[in-house]
Symmetry: C2
Subunit: 345 residues, 2 copies
């Protein structure tokens, strides 16, 4: 049976004792500091999650200020970890303070998004976490101005705090890794420029190409809405072009899932036929054959930040409210067996 | 960009043309008939999903009867495909008819479940799909009697139609497959007997052991709430026992995810050190090293049935309403590289 602790029962001291590490190490790992080995940090975070650990600050704020409120969580998709894992962890953290989360799925349809926002704001939700659709309607932006909002993954141009991935530095690392292996023909599969994250990623990867001494304008680029099906089609579009790339950099969680499937279906051996870098945090990237070199995004960290920021927005202390604009979570490059030197120079 | 069709724009004829197969084949595949090769059926279903195909009957009923209503979707978890994939597909099908889905996550906590059911029934939801918590409260059962309800994955003892997996025959196949390879020491990792699916699966696997000429009472058994963490602990409990099993049968999607991780961490080579059968439908079972022998559950079929049944319950035609009790979806055994003969007899 699940061992589940009530809010406040499990503290950093308990986690440290159970894992045989110091409380300082636990604290650093839970704050995603770079001072802890990634494997150990992940083990600590996984254990904290299983034991139902809730950060003190979050538990206190939640129980003090927004007891039993309902909040909305509006996402374009829910069948990939960028949304399902964040939704699950956000719901867990919020509910520890008595706040229930209502999730709606827009399927990235702006009209459906507007209907859902109308329903949610007309009902009793105290606030919202939203990952906006690619082409949000002006009416939706107006509705969002009337309620405390935290943006997630994507910015819609409204005045609100948001939790986003800071992909710029890790893209430098990823491109540098591929260039260091000898790759010159690097293809890029990413999200569309109409998405805030798509524009930032394309700019970042172009900058990284230049920094690695490669010509950004010679890079093959395919941009598509983040779904596994588009990942599959992107692989075909990029690998069937001539000259064929020797390395593929995928920056998007759902695109990465379709990519991994399609690369396997095409019978490509990694890294001999193609070097592959994917993006996200599914458990199976490490279980694949070979394990996949990954830009690893901590979705639990995204969830924790979003839950804390929404709680602070709803709280009574104006000084605790997060500033509008991006609050960034830094992903990290994990090199594994899917990247290697190109077969011929 | 996503090619998304509006409800009604994509029909069986379009799908057949685009895939170069007959309309009869498309229809059979979409109805999950055994008459179509599994790979082809999956390709057809994936294409139908990508093209936004909605079954005629569902689209008609939805637009006629419950236009723009809100329905609830209450689940214990959302971070594994049994819930995230079903939620996403159900939301897609319902919204094609103008019905929006509100998802809440109980974390399998009966009190949280009751609070959520109170909120949902007090608000404007027209009906509910629910995957009940393991120990649902009597007050929750009373609330569920006041509203059209479809159960999913688990039965709570209320009078309502439910969509469940029919695991009995496939368990016979799976145990027969392992016994045919020469395994005698088969361990079983499954969901608790307090869950309707846990009780049915344990009974099924015990029956299958007997049918294969093995002693059900000699089988090592570990039952736990379906979470990845419990899958990891179950692997340790079963593999550290003596005599050690030569084969492990896991019947639960979330348990299977933790199992695959833990088996890899323990450095076990499949199938030489252990034969492994897992359960569910994650894309990565086929991408693992080696690919995993799987009891494959069609979550898209579960979603379609649940959406249709809820729609029929909400419709104006009393003759179309589904009967209370189980409506079963049959999973199938897919043999892959993770099962083989035991190392020594």
């Amino acid at each position: 049976m699940v061992r589940r602790a009530r809010s406040g029962q499990v503290g950093v001291v308990d986690l440290a004792r159970e894992l045989g590490v110091s409380t300082a190490t636990v604290s650093r790992a839970l704050n995603d500091s770079r001072a802890v080995r990634p494997e150990l940090a992940e083990r600590i975070r996984a254990h904290a999650h299983e034991r139902g650990y809730v950060p003190n600050r979050l538990a206190r704020a939640l129980s003090a200020s927004v007891s039993r409120a309902f909040v909305g969580f509006v996402v374009p998709y829910v069948d990939t970890p960028a949304y399902s894992a964040v939704a699950a962890e956000c719901a867990r953290l919020l509910s520890a303070g008595g706040t229930q989360m209502i999730l709606t799925i827009t399927e990235n349809d702006p009209e459906r998004e507007l209907r859902q926002l109308r329903e949610l704001t007309a009902s009793r939700v105290a606030g919202l976490v939203i990952s906006p659709s690619t082409h949000m309607l002006p009416e939706s932006r107006e509705l969002l101005a009337s309620i405390p909002v935290v943006e997630l993954h994507r910015a819609s141009g409204i005045t609100a705090p948001g939790v986003f991935s800071d992909d710029e530095r890790v893209l430098d690392e990823a491109v540098g890794h591929l260039a260091g292996l000898g790759h010159r023909a690097i293809a890029y599969l990413g999200t569309p420029e109409a998405l805030s994250n798509g524009a930032a990623r394309l700019q970042g990867v172009r900058h990284a190409m230049g920094a690695a001494g490669l010509d950004p304008d010679a890079m093959a680029v395919h941009l598509a809405e983040p779904t596994p099906g588009n990942g599959r089609r992107g692989v075909d579009a990029l690998l069937d072009a001539r000259p064929a790339p020797t390395a593929l950099l995928v920056v998007g969680g759902a695109l990465s899932i379709g990519t991994a499937q399609r690369v396997r279906e095409r019978g490509l051996r990694l890294p001999d036929d193609l070097s592959l870098v994917v993006y996200g945090d599914p458990v199976w990237f490490a279980l694949s054959d070979p394990p996949l070199t990954t830009i690893r995004v901590s979705y639990s960290e995204h969830a924790r930040r979003a839950a804390e920021m929404l709680t602070d927005l709803l709280g009574e202390d104006p000084d605790a409210r997060p500033a509008p604009g991006p609050h960034l979570v830094v992903p990290e490059l994990r090199v594994a067996g899917s990247t290697g030197p190109p077969r011929h120079g």
